[in-house]
Structures are given as C-alpha cells and as structure tokens.
C-alpha cells in the first residue's frame, strides 16, 4: 500500500525489511503475495524489461478493493486488541 505503483518484488521486500528490521528471502515474499493473489486480495502484472536488472522484467503487485477491505478489518481488529495495552507497555519501558 505504501509503495503505490512502485510495488514489485524487490521494493516490497525492502519495505518489509525496513519495518520489520530483519532480512527476508525473496521466495517468502513471493509466496505470501501469491497466496494473497489466490484469495483475490491483490493482483499481479508483469512489467517492462529494465536495463538495471539485466533486462529482466518486474512483477508488480497491486492492492485490490477486497484486499483493502481485508487490510482495514485486520487493522481494526489489531487496534481493538491493543487498545489500552500501549499505555501500560510504555510504563514497562
């Protein structure tokens, strides 16, 4: 979602690695995206070949409306569960 039209394998991985603060294999990224695609939450398309990647094409991923809805409900659920806990976590330090 954050990456918008620039969302393809390498960038998605970079984004996750930055936020999760650990290294991730490209296969794991593709696997997850593939499953999301099978569930109809994202859509993939093959892009144009680019010289930087030795002429290899990129596989772009795009969030579908169903996916956006699923994401929202997941966030809400998480927010509901963590409500109030955040304050206490701060005191624990």
């Amino acid at each position: 979602m954050r990456l918008g039209p620039d969302a393809y394998g390498a960038t998605i991985r970079r984004e996750i690695e930055t936020h999760a603060r650990r290294e991730l294999s490209i296969s794991a990224v593709y696997t997850t995206l593939q499953r999301l695609e099978q569930k109809g939450l994202v859509r993939s398309r093959i892009g144009e070949p680019t010289p930087e990647r030795g002429g290899r094409r990129r596989k772009h991923f795009e969030l579908l409306p169903a996916g956006a809805r699923a994401l929202k409900s997941a966030c809400d659920a998480f927010a509901g569960m963590t409500a109030g806990v955040e304050r206490r976590l701060k005191t624990l330090g």
């Binding site: 393809y8 394998g9 390498a10 991985r13 970079r14 290294e23 991730l24 294999s25 490209i26 296969s27 794991a28 593709y30 696997t31 593939q34 499953r35 695609e37 099978q38 093959i46 680019t50 930087e52 990647r53 030795g54 290899r56 094409r57 990129r58 596989k59």
Partner: protein, 882 residues
C-alpha cells in the same frame, strides 16, 4: 561466484517467477554493493541463497496451487515437506522414548564397534608401506619358518640372484652410547646395515649419503648415518654435520649422512652403522634380516623360483649346520611380513564386529516391524481420510532415516572411545605416523547398512498394510490377519538369526578365554616369586673377559648389600626374553647334533635363585672357574634327545660342532656335570627348547652383549633407584636397563591374547544383551497382541500355566532354531580360530555344549518375564480390550 549464487536461486525458484526473482535479487545486490561495499553485498547474497533454498519448496507449493484447478490430493514434491517430516519424526520419538532409546542404542553399538575396528584394520592391513612402489619390496627369509637369514645366505643371494634390482641386510645393533658434548651420554638405537639399504627402500637421505661398500667391509672406516631426530636434538641440526666425528661406544665414527625427518621403519632406528660379518660365533646364527626390491618386470613367483634353485648351494655354504628339513630361502612381500601375525587377529575381530552390526540391524528391523503393526490403525485412518500412500511412505522413511542418523552419531562417539582403548593396548607397528584414525568410508558403510535396513523394514510393512481395505483395520480390535502373520514370521526369523549370530560369538569368546586361561596355567619350569630382573648392556669389544668378571663381581657385591635383596644371579638371557642359539653336538656322536641349541651363560646360583630343579649331578660351583676344566649343564630336553635313559653325567658336549664339522675356531668339549629341569625358552606357548648352560666364569667365547641380572627380593622399597646407584658405583657410566618383575616378563607374553579375549568377550556380551532385548520385546509384544485371545481361553477354563506354556513355546522354538543354526555356524567358523587357541581344540565339546545351554537359560528368562504377565490377565479386562 555471484553467477553461481544467482543460478542457484533461479534453479530453486518456480519457473513463472524465475525472471522477476532474479531481477529482484540483482537489484538488491547492486544496492548493497553501492551502499555497503562489495564484500557485504556478497555475504548478503549467500545468505539469500540459503534462505531461498529453505523457502523455495513453499514457494513452489503456492505456485502450483495457484495453477491447479481441481482440489485433488496434492501431488507434493518430496522436498517440500522434508522439514515437516523431520519435525514430525522428532515429535513421534518424544512420544515413544522407549522405542527411540532402544533403537538408537542398538544402532550405536553396532555402528560404533564396527567403525572402530575397521579403522584399525584399514591402518594396519590396507595402508601401504610409506616407501615408493611398496609392492616391489620383498623380505627374504627362511623358506620353512620365515625367520631371518644367516649372513652367508644373504651374501650368496646378493651375489647370485638376478631377480632383485637391489638388496640389503640389516640387524639390530643394540643401544650404543653416544657421547654428547657438554652433557650426559645418550643411548641411541643402532641398526647395522649393508650398503644399498636406503637405496632398496627408495628413501634418499636428507643430507649426505648412505654407507658405501668400502665402509661395510671388515676393516673399513667407521661411518654412521644419523636419524633426523638425533641430528636435531643432539647436534642442533648443524648443517656442517657431514664429516664430523662422533663417538659411539668410544669408537669414532664419521657422519656421512642424515635420514629424512619422516623416515619410518618397523623398529626404532636412531643411527645406521655398518653391518660387518666377522666370522665370529654370532654370525652363524640366523639373525640377519634382508630387504630387497624386485627388478623391473620380475614377479614374486619368478623370484621365488630363482631362490628355490639356490637351496643346494645355500646348504653347502652353511656347512651343514642345518637340519634335514632345510629348504633354503624364499621371498615374502615386505608389507605382509610387517603386518605379520596380527593379520589373523584383526580379521577375526573385524568378523566379530560385523556380526554385532548384523545383530544390531536385525534388532532395529524387529523394532520397526513391531512399531509398524502398532501403527496400522493410524495408517488406515490417514489413508481413509485422503492421505497419499507416497506421503505416508516418505514420512515413515524420514523417521527411519532419523533413527539411523542418530544411531550413527552416537556410534561415532562410541567408536572414538573404542579406538582409544584399542590403540593404546594393541602393540601395532603401523606404517603411518598419523596412526589410526576414524575412517570415513567405514562410517559411511555402517550408516548405509543401517539405513538400508531401516528403509526395507519400514517400507515392507507399510506396503502390506496400505493394500488392505481400510475399513478392516478401522474396525474395533483391528487385527490385520494376513499382514500380521507375515510380520510375525519375519520377526521370528530375525530373532532366530540374531540368536544364531550371538551364540557363534559367544562360543568364539569362550574358546579364546579358555585358551588364555590354559596358557596362564602352563608350567614355567621356574618360580617367579619375588624375582626382579634388569639388563646391563656390555660392550665386549672394549671389555675383555677379565674386566667383565671384575664388573660382575663389583656390581653383584653392591646389589647384594641393598636391603631386601636376598640373592643375585646373572645370565645372558632370562627365560621368555628372547633366544640365543648355536649349533652343538654330543661328543663323539655326530648323529646327536642340534642346529639351534639354546646357550645360557649363568652364575652358579642361577638354578637356585630361579628355583629350577637340578635332577642329576650338581649345579655350577665357584670351582668352575676360568682355568678349571670346562663344564656344562644340559636340560631335560637335551638329556632325553641325546641320552634317553642313560646318564649324561661325565659325557661331553661341544658347542660349535655340528655333525662332526667344527664351525668355530675351537669348539672345546665340555663335560656334563648336571641335568637341569626344562624351562620355557622364548615363548610361553611353545615347548621348552634344548638348552646347554655354561658357567659365567668360563664363558669368554660367547661374547654376549647383554648381561641380565636376577634379584630375589623381599619387600624392597625404592629398588629401582638403589639398583641404579649400585651399578653406577661399581661402573660409572654403565647403562642400566629397565627393572621388571619376572611376573611382568611372563605377563607380556599374554598381553595380545588377553586383548583378543577381552574384545571378543565384550562383543559377545553386547550381542547377548541385544538379543535378550530382542527376545524380550518379541514375547512382550506377542503377549500384548494376544491378550484378548488369552482372556477368552482363561474364561473358558484354561489354567494360567497352560497359557504360559503356549506363549513360551513360541519363543523357545525360535531360540532353539537359532541355537541350532548358530552352533553349526560356529563349528564351521571355529576352524579359523585354530591358530589362536592354545591347547584347545576349536571344536571343544564342553564349550559347544555349555554355551548354547547357557544361552537357552538366558533366553528362557528373557521370555519368562513378559510371559508371566499372561498369568495375571483378568479375563474380564482382557475381553474388553480394543
């Protein structure tokens, strides 16, 4: 390298995504190279390879699921759930710890013992000698006994033979005293060699050259080749060592060469000195070893034929100082001679460990079969729910493989332990400085065997159980009639096989142990009580006989004064410490000649100190001194051979005389004054040899370079130090050998046999344990399976005793079958033990009866314990069992 990594990643990725994945990887790599540097980028790349290889299977699954439409049972590639299977396997091991423990322990014992023994055998038998073209190296020895040559035989072979490109002789030259500047003298082991010794071996010296023909000739200059260690330690690796003079036993030798650092020889070599045949008495003996290299294109058989042709000439050259049975000399591959007696032992021990491995595999198989039966319901359930046979098989295979790997791991630890024990106790001269190592090939073999067993015995029951219609086994009380019977039969056959193997090992162990025991009981002919012995090497070229007498008296005097020392005797060789023989003949009776008469030079109290009875006549006295008439004492063997029942006293013997021909300058006749009891000569397992004793005071012609002292002691603390001091006082600078008790001297003869017997006993014990466990398991399982049936029978009025008998009958039948096969097998194999047994027939009836009987009793007990549970079965509960 990066191309390789990329190729790996691409190969692991499913085809549809290959291109984009490769592109993504390149992008990231370039990014890292720009920001963090090329080496960081490379490290990330290889980490990525590892991660991709781990995650690729799931990626593949996800891709396939996307492309397939029908939700059929997925055809899942093997690799995809390897991790899953391993985890499942480990979980199921935790659920049945008993099975796992027994299976792993069983395998560990079998694999461990096998690997260790094979490593030893590989190092000792299979590794070639560390010389170039070692298969060309030959040792020439006596055709009949393989023992060493006489000098004259060597000279003839060297002169006449065309079969060898080079040939050299060598003989141990004892310890020589090396005078080191600015330090106490060192004693180094010298090897007397002829020229071409190093050339024959194919080992060039590190410095200088080897001895020349001129130096080896009588009267030639004294030259020496030092070992690398001596050069380094005592001469500081002086590069100018060549041409320097060093003193060996006060004789100046020119250093002409230095041996390479990695020089190896079957005996310790610190220096090479010239081997000179001087025609002295010592050269008559068969004490010269020969090494030769086959000429180009000459085979061993051809060399053998040529040497056989020299027999007549050799016989003549030895002036007939040979027995009728003399057949000349023969070549033997050097490698075989170096390994020598140990070959038979090692092969035997390896056979024993192979048996243990087989028993272990059989045990594992039995365990797996039982487990398969227990899981029939689970298997049927999973199949009914849509599981694929292939997945199931794969999963069970992984389980069995895990057991094998765990077993092998534990086995490795055991192997290391066993190797420690074996290499410190076995006195092997191994042709490798690295010694014995854990052998990778063997471990792989043992692991392979275990795996094959595991695979076969997992698949077979699985195949049988998956063929049956599932609803049969899902029924209450699901027993699989057909498959169950086959499995039960297979289990019985395996247990019987184990019994057979184990009983064979037990019989072998029993034979070896009995043999050892009998050897220990052998009468020595002398008493070892309180006796302690040590040697003082004497340089006869420096000390004349008169000096020796003074030396002996001075030392003896001081030794007697040591508190605790009751008596002191002297001789050239104590019993069981070696041999020293020469031709001898009865006076005026040339037909009474012995070629290898043992000669013992003794002090007058020798017989008394050693407790050797003097049957006729008298022992030596002080009056048998240098100028007095020459006397001798013969032992029972000589008396029986030459005089039978007549009295030898007063008759004469001549040493150096053989069949009327005098082989030495003056073969003086000695008058026999006594007949002494027989004692063991060189070996405990050989009969006593004919021996003539001569008084020390009259012994000048027999220049033995060794004087052995025997002390009869009582409670003498700190004896070793006091002995050294006594000798030092009497003769400063005199070398003193290690102090040993006579018990130790005798004991060292037993050490090899003791090791064999112990190892065999351990193997036999382990296999007995394994088989007992196997039997126990089989009976326990059978009882558990038939609980319902037993309940029914008891409800119908059968007595517990009857039911017990039925259950026992089965296991006893298996045991009996196994015993029968085992005894037959043992009888067949026992023949190969022939050479190792002392005073015992390989088919010793008492052993062949007692061992199977003992085994039967053990088997009975092993079966009885689980079977007794049968008698406690409550029919009501039994009938309710699912």
């Amino acid at each position: 390298m990066t191309r390789l990594a990329l190729a790996l990643i691409a190969a692991a990725t499913p085809r549809p995504d290959r291109e984009s994945v490769a592109g993504d990887t390149i992008e990231r790599f370039d990014e890292l190279r720009a920001t963090a540097g090329p080496s960081a980028a490379r490290r990330w790349l290889w980490r990525e390879v590892a991660r991709v290889l781990r995650d690729a299977p799931r990626h593949r699954v996800a891709t396939h699921d996307g492309t397939r439409q029908a939700p059929r049972a997925r055809k899942v590639p093997l690799m995809s759930s390897l991790g899953q299977d391993v985890r499942y396997a480990l979980r199921s091991f935790k659920r049945s710890p008993g099975f796992t423990a027994v299976a792993v322990a069983t395998l560990a014992l079998g694999i461990g013992a096998n690997t260790a023994m094979f490593s030893v055998i590989h190092a000792a038998l299979l590794r070639p000698l560390p010389y170039p073209q070692p298969s060309e190296l030959i040792r020439v020895g006596q055709r009949t006994t393989g023992s060493s040559l006489a000098v004259v035989e060597f000279e003839i072979v060297r002169r006449e033979s065309r079969a060898f490109s080079s040939i050299a002789a060598y003989r141990g030259a004892g310890d020589r005293r090396l005078d080191v500047a600015g330090g106490p003298p060192e004693w180094i082991a010298a090897l007397a060699v002829t020229t071409d010794f190093l050339r024959t071996l194919g080992v060039p010296p590190a410095l200088g050259r080897e001895l020349t023909a001129g130096e080896v000739q009588a009267g030639g200059p004294q030259a020496v080749v030092l070992s690398h260690a001596v050069w380094r330690e005592h001469f500081g690796a002086d590069p100018e060592i060549l041409g320097r003079l060093v003193a060996l036993d006060d004789v100046r030798h020119v250093v002409v060469g230095v041996l390479p650092a990695d020089f190896w020889f079957p005996q310790r070599v610190d220096a090479l000195v010239p081997l000179r045949s001087s025609g002295a008495l010592g050269d008559l003996g068969m004490n010269t070893s020969t090494v030769a290299r086959l000429a180009n294109g000459v085979t061993l058989t051809q060399a053998d034929g040529e040497l056989a042709g020299f027999a007549e000439e050799l016989r003549r050259a030895r002036s007939g100082s040979v027995e009728e049975a003399y057949q000349g000399v023969a070549p033997v591959p050097l490698h075989r001679w170096v390994v020598g007696d140990q070959r038979a032992t090692l092969v035997l021990l390896f056979g024993a460990t192979a048996f243990v491995l087989l028993i272990a595999c059989a045990n594992l198989a039995v365990l797996l079969l039982a487990r398969a039966s227990a899981r029939d319901q689970e298997i049927a359930l999973r199949l009914a729910l849509g599981g694929s046979r292939r997945r199931l098989a794969a999963q069970f295979l992984v389980e069995s493989a895990c057991v094998s790997v765990l077993g092998a791991g534990a086995g490795l630890l055991i192997a290391r332990g066993v190797l420690q024990v074996v290499t410190t106790r076995l006195s092997l001269t191994l042709p490798s400085a690295a010694g014995v190592r854990l052998d990778g090939t063997v471990l792989a073999f043992a692991l392979g065997t275990a795996m094959v067993t595991a695979v076969v015995f997992t698949l077979v029951p699985l195949l049988t159980s998956t063929r049956l219609p599932p609803h049969d086994s899902l029924k209450v009380g699901g027993r699989m009639a057909g498959a169950g019977r086959t499995r039960a039969r297979a289990r019985s056959a395996l247990v019987a096989a184990q019994v057979a193997l184990a009983v064979t090992l037990l019989i072998g162990a029993a034979l070896l142990i009995q043999s050892l025991h009998r050897l220990r009981q052998e009468p020595l002919g002398f008493s070892t009580e309180g006796l302690v012995t040590f040697t003082t090497p004497i340089d006869r070229t420096r000390l004349s006989s008169a000096h020796v007498d003074v030396f002996v008296e001075a030392v003896g005097d001081r030794l007697r004064r040591i508190p605790g020392v009751r008596d002191v005797a002297t001789t050239n060789l104590v019993p069981l410490a070696g041999q020293s023989n020469m031709p001898a003949q009865r006076d005026r009776r040339p037909e009474h000649s012995i070629g290898g008469m043992e000669i013992r030079v003794v002090s007058p109290n020798y017989f008394d100190v050693l407790g050797i009875p003097v049957r006729r006549g008298r022992a030596f006295a002080a009056s048998d001194a240098a100028g007095a008439p020459a006397v001798a004492i013969v032992n029972d063997t000589v008396a029986a051979a030459w005089w039978q029942d007549a009295d030898p006293i007063g008759d004469g013997v001549a040493i150096g005389l053989f069949r009327g021909k005098s082989l030495v300058r003056d073969a003086a006749t000695r008058r026999v004054v006594g007949v002494g009891g027989d004692t063991k000569a060189m070996r405990l397992d050989a009969p006593p040899r004919p021996t003539i004793f001569i008084p020390l005071a009259q012994a000048d012609a027999f220049g033995s370079s060794n004087l052995t002292w025997i002390l009869r002691t009582e409670d003498a603390p700190g004896l070793a130090a006091q002995v050294r001091r006594a000798v030092e006082d009497a003769a400063p600078g005199q070398r003193v050998g290690t102090l040993r008790s006579m018990d130790d001297v005798v004991g060292s003869q037993l050490s090899d046999r003791r090791l064999n017997a112990s190892l065999f006993a351990i193997f036999a014990g382990v296999s007995l344990l394994l088989v007992t466990i196997g039997l126990y398991g089989v009976v326990a399982y059978a009882v558990a399976q038939r609980t319902r049936e037993i309940g029914v029978r008891m409800a119908l009025g059968a007595r517990p005793a009857d039911v017990l008998a039925t259950v026992l009958r089965q296991s006893l039948a298996i045991t009996a079958a196994g015993l029968a096969i085992g005894v037959a097998g043992a009888a067949w194999l026992a023949q190969s033990l022939q050479g190792m047994l002392f005073n015992l027939s390989p088919l010793d009836p008492s052993t062949f009866i007692a061992v199977p009987l003992l085994f039967a009793v053990v088997a009975l007990v092993a079966a009885l314990v689980p079977a007794r549970r049968v008698t406690r079965v409550d029919p009501l509960i039994a009938l309710r069992v699912d």
